[in-house]
């Protein structure tokens, strides 16, 4: 269980509380151990391999962007990190996906518990058709949060830079908010679970440029507290907000590098072609 969520350790399963920070760095080249590590990860839908032998470290407290053309497997890869692919018929995973020391696809790993620690924000804003307050409070409430819910909601909304805009209408329906506000609400909802990692699946693709800019600013602020993994097909967005960028093509990881390096001096020809638009 994560450090902050001590309120839910009451279920008497202390065995699951392996904390990433206790690992003795096994990857010597890294100063801090990766938040998530994929080792030779392959994801198949039936016979089709959507993700092929990907090995990648997601560094903690940074923004890692995954870019690539439609159907390159980037979304599938992202969704494997909190096992949202479980809901896809016929998805099959081989290789390892380590969240800290824990293998996400091991039998001992409970996806419900995992998702509490690895939050997710989706392509289209998907607030619950409830009040703004309960949108944020529902996740913690259902997971037996025993602190002050109102405080938690305020804190999450503040972190998502939404508090000022909604503080006087917490009981109104979340569906009355604008698209950009809804997406920030979804971020607040994820943040309220006090996760370690935030997965974002094209979080701005349904928003206009202005709302996009606000979300991007927000992601930039959040990365000091969370590990952010962002899938986007907007290369400029990856360039703007990520610290690291991974480029995928037909299920394979072609190149991963510091973003500023990847966008000025990509080392792989295919990356070069993709980012300069010469692809396909």
């Amino acid at each position: 269980m994560v450090a902050a969520s001590h309120s839910i350790t009451s279920d008497g399963m202390p065995g699951v509380t392996i904390r990433p920070r206790t690992i003795v760095a096994e990857a010597v080249q890294l100063t801090t151990p990766p938040a998530i590590r994929a080792v030779d990860l392959t994801i198949r839908y039936g016979t089709f391999a959507a993700v092929k032998n990907v090995t990648l470290d997601i560094p903690p407290n940074q923004v890692t962007a995954i870019i690539g053309p439609s159907g390159c497997g980037k979304s599938t890869f992202l969704r494997s990190m909190n096992r949202m692919n479980d809901f896809v018929e016929g998805a099959h995973v081989t290789g390892q996906l380590l969240f800290g020391k824990e293998d996400v696809y091991a039998a001992a790993c409970d996806p419900v518990e995992l998702r509490r620690r690895v939050g997710m924000v989706f392509q289209k804003p998907n607030p619950f058709p409830k009040s703004i307050f309960w949108n944020v409070a529902w996740g913690p409430a259902v997971n037996g949060y025993r602190g002050n819910l109102a405080e938690l909601v305020e804190e999450a909304l503040r972190k998502a830079a939404l508090w000022e805009e909604v503080m006087d209408r917490l009981n109104r329906s979340a569906l009355a908010l604008s698209g950009g506000q809804q997406q920030r609400l979804c971020i607040a909802r994820a943040v309220a679970m006090q996760p370690d990692v935030l997965l974002m699946d094209e979080p701005c693709s349904a928003l206009d440029p202005i709302a996009t800019a606000r979300i991007e600013d927000l992601i930039d602020k959040l990365k000091s507290q969370y590990t952010v993994v962002l899938v986007t097909h907007n290369m400029q967005q990856a360039a703007r907000i990520s610290d690291h960028t991974a480029f995928m093509l037909m299920g394979e990881l072609v190149e991963v590098d510091a973003t500023s390096r990847l966008f000025t001096m990509p080392s792989d020809r295919r990356t070069q072609d993709y980012i300069t638009g010469r692809f396909g």
């Binding site: 998702r115 939050g119 989706f122 619950f128 058709p129 996740g139 259902v142």
Partner: protein, 300 residues
């Protein structure tokens, strides 16, 4: 428009005949409108005819008195009305929980395998099975098999089976109308499947389910054929006191009266129809109201 720059092709090749097309369009629109009006006229004629026949017989006494063998025009519909109420109550209790549960299974739990597809196909077909056949099923299984005899319970059970597929289909539609993104959102904050269904999917689907259930019941309320087959009696003065008592129902009484040659029975049937239609309309009204409310609320 600078015809100088129409370099592509020769516009002379087009012969749009705009006037003719405009004229045809208007003609067609009028034809369609006429068809729609014709359909409405039938309804108007029906209502007018029924009203003319039965309105004068309507009174509180008509609702509360039994059937008179001496003077048909003093007959009332106490026992068929109560029979119908009994039937609807029991049918709801039997069909709705099972129907909604089955829909939840199919939408939320079922894996995409042969069994699931078979269940779905089967339900779609059940919805198309004529009501008379349900009557035969009820007659064999409930009346004789479970020895319920010709009771309200047997009739309600047959009707419950009749509306079950409709309830399942309507509930599935309602569940399907809840966007997948809402479920994903719930799972992503660490909710279990049941928590997701209980807190988000069901509340969002309830108006749709309710509408479907009401419409299914309003179909059941007018059914005569299966009840006749199951063995509702045409003539009965008593009101059923328990689920195992014999019964009659409004549609059966209407069917019975309308087949009688004497004109006063046509008037009685008309009056009963008015009662039945009022019941139906109010149920439909509730359903339409729920739907309108839901559509206004739903903005995802």
């Amino acid at each position: 428009m600078n015809s100088a720059m129409t370099t592509a092709g020769n516009p002379a090749f087009f012969q749009p005949r705009l006037n003719r097309r405009r004229w045809m369009g208007r003609l067609f629109a009028w034809m369609c409108l006429a068809a729609a009006i014709a359909a409405v006229l039938v309804l108007a004629a029906l209502l007018w005819h029924v009203g003319r026949q039965g309105a004068s017989l309507l009174s509180v006494k008509f609702l509360t008195s039994g059937e008179s063998t001496l003077d048909p025009l003093t007959s009332g519909i106490r026992s068929p009305l109560w029979g119908t109420i009994w039937l609807m109550g029991l049918t709801t209790i039997l069909a709705v929980p099972i129907g909604v549960a089955a829909a939840i299974y199919l939408e939320e739990y079922a894996p995409d395998n042969r069994l699931t597809r078979f269940i779905q196909l089967n339900i779609a077909n059940l919805a198309g099975v004529p009501s008379v056949v349900y009557g035969l099923l009820g007659l064999t299984v409930f009346v004789r098999g479970f020895a319920l005899r010709r009771s309200v319970a047997a009739g309600a059970a047959a009707l419950a089976l009749l509306v079950l597929p409709v309830v399942i289909i309507a509930s599935r539609e309602a569940l399907l109308g809840v966007p997948k993104s809402i479920r994903e959102a719930a799972y992503a904050v660490g909710a279990t499947r049941w928590q997701t269904i209980r807190h988000h999917v069901l509340p969002a689907a309830v108006p749709g389910i309710l509408t479907g259930v009401i419409l299914a019941l309003s179909r059941a309320i007018g059914e005569a054929a299966p009840l006749i087959v199951v063995g509702a009696v045409a003539y009965m003065r008593k009101v059923p006191a328990g689920p195992l008592d014999p019964f009659t129902a409004l549609p059966i009484k209407i069917f019975n009266w309308s087949e009688m040659p004497a004109p006063e029975f046509a008037r009685l049937a008309g009056a009963a129809i008015i009662v039945l239609l009022i019941l139906l309309l109010s149920m439909n009204g509730v359903a339409v109201g729920i739907r309108a409310w839901q559509q206004r609320r739903k903005s995802w």
